[in-house]
Amino acid sequence: MRTRLPQGESELHFLDRLARSTNRRAFLQWSGMAIGVVALGCSDDHNGPGNGDGEVNLGTGDTGVLNYAYALEQLEAAFYTQVVASFYAGASVDEQSILTDIRDHEVIHRDFFRTALGSAAIADLTVDFTTINFADRASVLGAAKTFEDLGVSAYNGAGQLLTDAANLLVAGKIVSVEARHAAAIRDLLVPRSSAAGSFAGDDTVDPTTGLEIPERAPPAVLTAADTYVVTTINSSGLPTS
């Protein structure tokens, strides 16, 4: 087995992750997560820690779907980390509290998947938030709304791609928290008493069926996220149904 330092990952971080991966079996028992041992491929350069060439391959089966979720959580965690590092001008105490909580949740989601995936985890993604003005409230909250709504539709679409019930449950535990985030962010953008009821507005919940907007399949989600991700994400191995 060749071991390469994932792109963008410090050696210290990588060693830390290796150390933690030795406790992965115990972690998986605690978390209830189920990942096939076969996914921990040692000979396939496209699985396991990144390739160092600016591309990650999510892999196949449930592992691939979980890497897909891991990629989205990396993106969200990086975004909110930058938001909290330097709040936009005029951020209220309530807004700072909400955004800090969400930052914590997304970092936890990211680290959860990294630990669960162990050596099958993709490398750290390189992100690009140059289209977001972190000094501007509307820009930050608008991006947050985009990420949260996208995340909800992504998880809603990923559920049917999973084959192990334990993994479906984990995805379910996370997606409802993303939906809680989405509602709170939307509430900050549009006053809650507006006639639109924007926390679950007609633009994201079909008023006729009461269903969240149609689930998004991984290719559509990754296309939408592409603006913010430098690393090429190869999703060709993901299940399609």
């Binding site: 909580d101 998880y155 709170a184």
Partner: protein, 249 residues
């Protein structure tokens, strides 16, 4: 008394709810037929397209009827609340109108899928035997709303695995699940709570049963944020125990 409302187990009532399925053959078919007949044409076509398969497996029917019972409870709760003059302040009306709209749609959607297999709407008593006054007391109305929404999120989550055999139904259930979570976040924040659930904590002991098990850390080091980052499932029995004080028959 109040702090036992939600925690009280009523096995007899739960059995009655469970056995409602047995009554379907007598009365459900007629109700289902009426529900289908009264559905707007466009919506009926949509539902038909989404659920084109023939007879559903009993396991899936059971889950959907369980969901239908919860949606009926939520729907009647909001319909009654919105019709109670002076209960909901004008500024908050749009919030509950939006939620009511979704719950009404969920009921219609589930009935359209279940057709003749749908259970009847139960008779509800939101005073829980005269101990609560949600339609005259706004804080109680808000408290029950939060309890029902957070319970709904956990209930759908707990049943997802049972729907894996049918991708369309699983995905539809997930698309309801996230809407319930949006509602829960909003109502919690309206009450001055965080939109997410910290540990198994609640500001009112009366709804403690709704949060049992939410303190799970999923293998991660314990912290408030870790418990907030994951919503935990409830079993069908746990959900029925929470709902039973409000179901007369």
């Amino acid at each position: 008394m109040r702090d036992t409302i939600f925690g009280s187990l009523d096995p007899e009532l739960m059995n009655r709810v469970e056995s409602r399925r047995g009554a379907v053959s007598r009365t459900g078919k007629m109700a289902g037929a009426l529900a289908l007949a009264s559905m707007p044409v466009a919506f009926g076509l949509m539902a038909k397209k989404a659920f084109a398969q023939g007879g559903l497996p009993q396991g899936i029917i059971d889950v959907l009827n369980f969901a239908l019972t919860l949606e009926e409870l939520e729907n009647e709760f909001y319909v009654t609340g919105l019709a109670s003059g002076g209960l909901i302040p004008g500024a908050d009306q749009p919030i509950f109108q939006q939620i009511r709209k979704h719950e009404t749609a969920h009921v219609a959607l589930l009935r359209s899928v279940l057709g003749a297999s749908a259970v009847d709407k139960p008779t509800f008593d939101f005073t829980a035997g005269g101990t609560l006054d949600p339609f005259n007391d706004y804080p109680t109305f808000q408290l029950l709303s939060q309890a029902f929404e957070d319970t709904g999120v956990r209930a759908y989550k707990g049943q997802a695995a049972a729907l894996m055999a049918d991708n369309t139904i699983l995905t539809t259930a997930l698309r309801i699940h996230s809407v319930e979570a949006r509602h829960a976040s909003e109502v919690r924040r309206l009450r001055g709570q965080k939109g997410w659930i910290t540990g198994n904590m609640t500001d009112n002991a009366a709804i403690a049963a709704v949060y049992a098990g939410e303190e799970a850390t999923n293998g991660l080091p314990t912290s408030n944020a870790v418990t907030e980052a994951f919503d935990e499932p409830l079993t069908k029995d746990q959900v029925l125990a929470i709902a039973s004080p409000f179901i007369v028959v």
